[in-house]
């Protein structure tokens, strides 16, 4: 893609630095002059929101660690100490715990946007796969973090999730013992989970750098799903995208703040305010909301090993999405059938989320089985068939044509507005 301008250092120091480390030029070409498609809508602002959420989680997390104690006898009390004694501790902890949920809300919107507009298609496959890796790392980080308060849900959530590995034939028990550092979830488990929970966000940050790098190589997709053909199809990142991203971010922060200040425990579980008790399992174990669809898939299958395989496959299948959907048309705007199946798929994911929160009995199990089947059918049957047989709508000739209808280039006089 052609740029709108190239960076020219203005003063002597910047010229001196640029000749030695062209970092200002990199920032300029990536975040100022970088050409973005002119038709991006607000669904494209979630990348910026996600970057903000990652930074917010790292900052609040680093501060919380200054007051938290990762030990089985002290962890629960140290979290209460943060809530009651530490200056603004309640705020920092609620920001961090609700921040995890906000991070997942944003990532789910970001992922569904990518699916709707076909952002995973060539040449953006690697960009998409890096995103799936980030999502997996987010899930691991969220799980590890939820263990740290060492309440009942922390303890039993850790027990159930680590027991996934006991489903592996022959070496399952060896692996779980190795993961726990004991014969059950206990203090060694808590300490290593804390270490990894601190590490993984920085790994995520590293993969985010690769994700953004890949994005800047292939350029952004856009609602029309066609490549920009020249300067008239793009606008510079600054001010257009920075202001739009900034506005969306402020709206998102308002939403975030509503949770933090008015309903800070709405997304949590009361059981986690009971200290971990290895002798009693809570009557109703439920993971955090963002894992519920996958939990429903796990429970839908009445066989331990196959259930665990289905759980991991439901996430792993996303990696193959660019090849399962081989339609040359990216955007759902020009794929009338795909568009309908997309919304059915969204409804199925929400339905699985609902079922994951329900007890595993009777009609709920049957409904989970039907939706689990549909979830996999969407990827393995519907998408490959659609890409072969769907009759797509004609694509616009250019992005500016799709925006301006008659394809009036920027600067040309627009038709005079008519009064009705």
């Amino acid at each position: 893609m052609s740029g709108h301008s190239t960076y020219q250092p203005q003063n002597a120091f910047m010229k001196w630095l640029e000749a030695r480390l062209p970092i200002a030029g990199l920032v300029h070409s990536s975040f100022i002059a970088y050409p973005t498609p002119r038709n991006l809508n607000y669904w494209w602002t979630f990348g910026g929101i996600l970057s903000f959420m990652l930074a917010a989680q790292i900052v609040t997390g680093i501060v919380l660690v200054m007051h938290y104690t990762p030990h089985e006898t002290m962890a629960f009390n140290s979290v209460e100490h943060i809530m009651r004694d530490v200056n603004y501790g309640w705020l920092l902890r609620y920001l961090h715990s609700n921040g995890a949920s906000m991070f997942f809300i944003a990532v789910y919107i970001h992922m569904f946007r990518g699916m709707y507009y076909g952002s995973y298609k060539a040449p953006r496959e690697v960009l998409w796969i890096l995103g799936v890796i980030i999502y997996l790392l987010m899930m691991a980080t969220g799980f590890l973090g939820y263990t740290l308060p060492w309440g009942q849900m922390s303890f039993w959530g850790a027990t159930v999730i680590t027991n996934f590995f006991s489903a592996i034939p022959l070496v399952g028990e060896t692996i779980t013992t190795w993961l726990w550092g004991g014969y059950a979830v206990g203090n060694p488990t808590l300490q290593r989970f804390f270490s990894l929970h601190y590490l993984l966000p920085f790994v995520i940050a590293g993969v985010v750098v690769l994700h953004v790098w890949a994005l800047h190589v292939v350029g952004q997709n856009n609602p029309a799903g066609i490549e920009p053909k020249g300067d008239k199809d793009t606008v510079p990142f600054t001010p257009y995208a920075t202001i739009k991203d900034g506005f969306a971010m402020v709206c998102f922060i308002l939403f975030f703040a509503y949770f933090v200040f008015y309903i800070p425990n709405y997304l949590g579980h009361a059981d986690n305010y009971i200290p971990a008790n290895p002798a009693v399992t809570p009557a109703h174990i439920v993971p955090e909301w963002y894992y519920l669809p996958f939990y429903a898939i796990l429970r839908a299958i009445p066989n331990k090993l196959l259930g665990v395989i289905a759980l991991f496959a439901s996430i792993g299948i996303l990696v193959f999405l660019p090849w399962l959907d081989s339609s040359k048309v990216r955007s759902a705007r020009y794929r009338p059938l795909f568009r309908q199946f997309f919304w059915i798929f969204v409804a199925v994911c929400l339905g699985l989320g609902y079922l994951g929160a329900k007890p595993a009995e009777g009609g709920y199990v049957i409904a989970s089985q039907i939706l689990t089947f549909y979830y996999f059918a969407h990827f393995l049957i519907i998408l490959p068939l659609l890409s072969r047989f769907e009759k797509t709508k004609p694509l616009p000739n250019s992005i500016s044509e799709s925006v301006l209808k008659q394809g009036v280039p920027i600067g040309a006089s627009a038709p005079a507005p008519t009064r009705h």
């Binding site: 027990t159 550092g181 014969y183 059950a184 979830v185 060694p188 009995e361």
Partner: protein
């Protein structure tokens, strides 16, 4: 580099490159091993996992007590004659994980059943004296066990495990 047709064939230098690389790979693997193995149970955890003795005198008929061994809950179930009979009269062919009740208790001590109280599905603790067989019921994902701790329905793949234990007298057991 003086590259000629001879350099296409395998030379002594190629062998040295491969050998050097192999030694480095083996060295890296040996260096990684302590970093991986440190996650296994440490000496204090293993020491704390020593056998425990349980006095059975206070366990009344029909009562289930829970003791801990190696951080795992151990159920000691003083079964009633009715429960024992139910466990023995089951048609083994109907069980997902067939095992006679006699193989799950110590000879002459069928009234005491000692089990690891961890659901074989994903590790929750089942509730005693509940479920359709009045055995054990796991609230997490709905696995049902009978009075012998054998899986009858639900996602759990196998019967509740038995800890290693022995009767050191008629009223005392050592677990571990």
């Amino acid at each position: 580099m003086a590259s000629t047709a001879a350099s296409a064939a395998h030379t002594r230098r190629d062998f040295l490159y491969v050998a050097t690389g192999s030694v480095a790979a083996v060295g890296a693997a040996f260096t990684a091993w302590p970093l991986i193995y440190q996650m296994n149970p440490d000496a204090s955890t293993i020491a704390a996992g020593a056998p425990v003795e349980v006095d059975l005198t206070p366990v009344a008929e029909g009562q289930v007590i829970k003791v801990f061994w190696r951080g795992k809950p151990i159920f000691v179930n003083h079964r009633t004659p009715k429960e024992i009979k139910e466990a023995e009269d089951v048609n083994l062919a109907s069980l997902p994980d067939p095992q006679p009740d006699s193989a799950r208790v110590k000879k002459g001590h069928a009234n005491f059943q000692v089990l690891i109280g961890i659901c074989t599905h994903l590790g929750c603790i089942p509730i005693a004296h509940s479920g359709p067989y009045n055995g054990y019921f796991c609230p997490c994902h709905g696995s049902v066990y009978d009075t012998s701790g054998r899986i009858r329905s639900g996602p759990a793949p196998s019967n509740l495990a038995l800890p290693p234990y022995e009767f050191i007298s008629d009223t005392r057991i050592r677990i571990g």
